[in-house]
Amino acid sequence: MWRQLAGPHWRPFTVLAACILLLAALDAGQGAFLSAATAYSTLQIFATVSLVTLGLGLTMMIREFDLSVVGMYGMAGCIAVLTGTEHPWLGFFLALAIGLAAGIAQGFIIVRLNLSSVGVTLGGLLVFVGIAFVLTESRSLPYDNLAVALLLNERFGGIFSIRSVVALAFFASAAMIFAWTRLGRDIIAIGSDRRAAMTTGVKVDALIIGIFAFSGLCAALSGVLLSYSLASASPAGLADVIAPAAAGAILGGISLGGGTGRPLGIAAGALTLAVLRSGLNAVGAPPFVNDIAMGAVLLTVAVLDGPDLARRLIVVRRLARRSPTA
């Protein structure tokens, strides 16, 4: 049973549980961590980054990487704020549409021209950032529809807000689609062995474009909700996104070799990071602990997932055995 808990399917949840227990222990009964307020702030932090984590995680699952989420995040927020003062829904859907279109465009370029996704999405990233700066004239824009801002963040049920519920609902839908439809099977196949997927007739090209479209959509959705709820948009983005997103995906079970990871696992990974951040804050730890913990996790996983690790260990073992006789 222990091995199963450590296995890729359950590990994100085990890690999440471990973190919660750890923080509860640190809290030592003071009630700072185990409180509704902390749960609320955890879910708020979750809502900010988790959808980007999902989109990025799916691209990582098929052994690609969507750098442009960073730029789309900011650009979507700016577009929504600029056009959504009178009609919030207009700004919302416009930003989502642009996110979707941009994702499709990038996916199309990657697939048709057979280019590296890192290169193309890097270009996309720079273009989105540029557009955001142009639209906002390099300023932070205030969002005057404060009613929407308050509504999005209004706390209900003790720990939820509309923002966090939207994020959770998105994850739930993604999880259901992934588990119950053939999309999920095909995507896993592409990540597991792309050649095998192509040979057996999986529509690899269409799915890759779809995944990048979804990633763009997720980034846009996150950006819009964040900007509305903070009542401002900044072309440089309002939150540091790439590191928590990658870390969340990896904690969520995405292996750099592809094929592993599920939406629910990614949710657990993103939730773990959110728990760490708000929990450490609640028990009074300084913010740097968060950055260091995240960096350490990414570093460890990257090294352990390194393809040549086994080879190096054989060599090291050989050298160690040889030195007494040398």
Binding site: T181, D186, I188, A196, V202, G259, T260, V315
Partner: protein
Amino acid sequence: MQEVLSVWGVSKAYPGVTALEDVSFSLRRGEIRALCGENGAGKSTLVKILMGLVAPDRGSIAINGQTQVMRSPQQAQGLGLGLVAQELSLAPHLSILDNIWLGSAEVPFLHRRAKLRLRAQQALATLGLADWDLDRPVGSLTIGQRQLIEIARLLARDARVLILDEPTATLSDADIDRILGILRGLRAQGRSIIYVTHRLGEVFELCDSVTVLRNGAHVTTGPVSEITRAQLVELMLGRSFNDMYPKAAARADRGARMIVNNLRVPSAVHDFSMVAPRGCIVCIAGQIGSGANIVTRALAGLVPSATGNVMVDGRPMRLGSVPHCVGRNVLFISDDRAAEGLFPQLTVLDNLVASRLSAGARMGVLSWRELRRIGASLAQRVGVDRKRLTSQSNTLSGGNQQKLLFGRALASTQPGVLLMNEPTRGIDVGARAEIYRIMQELCDLGAALVMTSSDLDEVVGIADIVITLYRGRVVARYQGDDIAMASILSDITHITHSIRSVA
């Protein structure tokens, strides 16, 4: 009895090479047909045409009496054909059930359907694997078991004609017995099987009939009971013998450049030993799964788990470190020149002098004048136009690219050992002749050449010493006049079944 598959006059030519010429045969229900022929005989082209992957230039195909134009693999599957290729198409992270239905047009959007599960279950039952858990990830299966899942995939999609391409190449004896039993069971159900193989022993053990191809042409089709093993070998090889191999001057037995004892690579090579004399070409002959390629890689330092005793020029050489082997003048040319030999974006010059960068160098700074001189001379020696020195190497033809790799080997100042895997694979006749000339030149300089090749004409034509391998073990050694095509072929195809030792 109805003919379930018929092929008439199928021909296919690529620029410069005729893959198939007017091939015709037919297959009955419940028949297991062996498809035999040397590498390049046209077997894989024929299979691709049957599966709709490639369109023939001429000819027609009929399935159950109806002429069909094969357009795509999906269509072929729909008509009842199925292929288990040499390279398996399974996604290790998905379950057995998901892999059986992977990519099939029959899977609906909401993929969990009881009917599909039932059919998969029945397919496994047909193979005698009813107790296997459909939800187990394929990654946890052995390679023999994975092969069975590929067959199950064909059965679940109701394939009536199964094409198996070298199914037993990488299997253990127990796995082979199991598969042969399963195929007999499928035959009893009225399915037909096309069994593409080099393993002539299995042809006689399992198949009802055999079709032989040679150089793209259909040689014969007939019942296995009416042909002897010797006749089969003769038909595959034909009478003509290439004269393209330079007649090696009788090489007196010179000293040994490399002596190998007890080379072992876990699960691949068991107890390999060899002596590579100066100025001689040693050929290690074996099929896929024989471990021949792994032997050379291990001797080159590319296999960290290899163990054994290797002496080069009288001094021991360590295994597992490429720089060390290179330092001892043991060089390697891979069979995968695209991924492991050439530097595609670098120039021809860069590729040629890759191992000679220290020439004329002072304190780490290169001497480009010296390198250009060396490059020019190497280019001339291997027959590459000096004007191409500044072109990117991926603009060269396959033959010229291979010549570059040989040029690299010529670049070392002292003759050593050159290890090569399939040195002339995929190369046209003209370039081949040049490469044999270069190999000759290396021998004259005193180097020892050790190569692997699946082209038996080449092995017989150029080798001074031949070592035959079957599943990681040495079968026999031949020298000089003892080298004969028939005996080599028997060895590597395990036709005598004399080695059925416990693995």
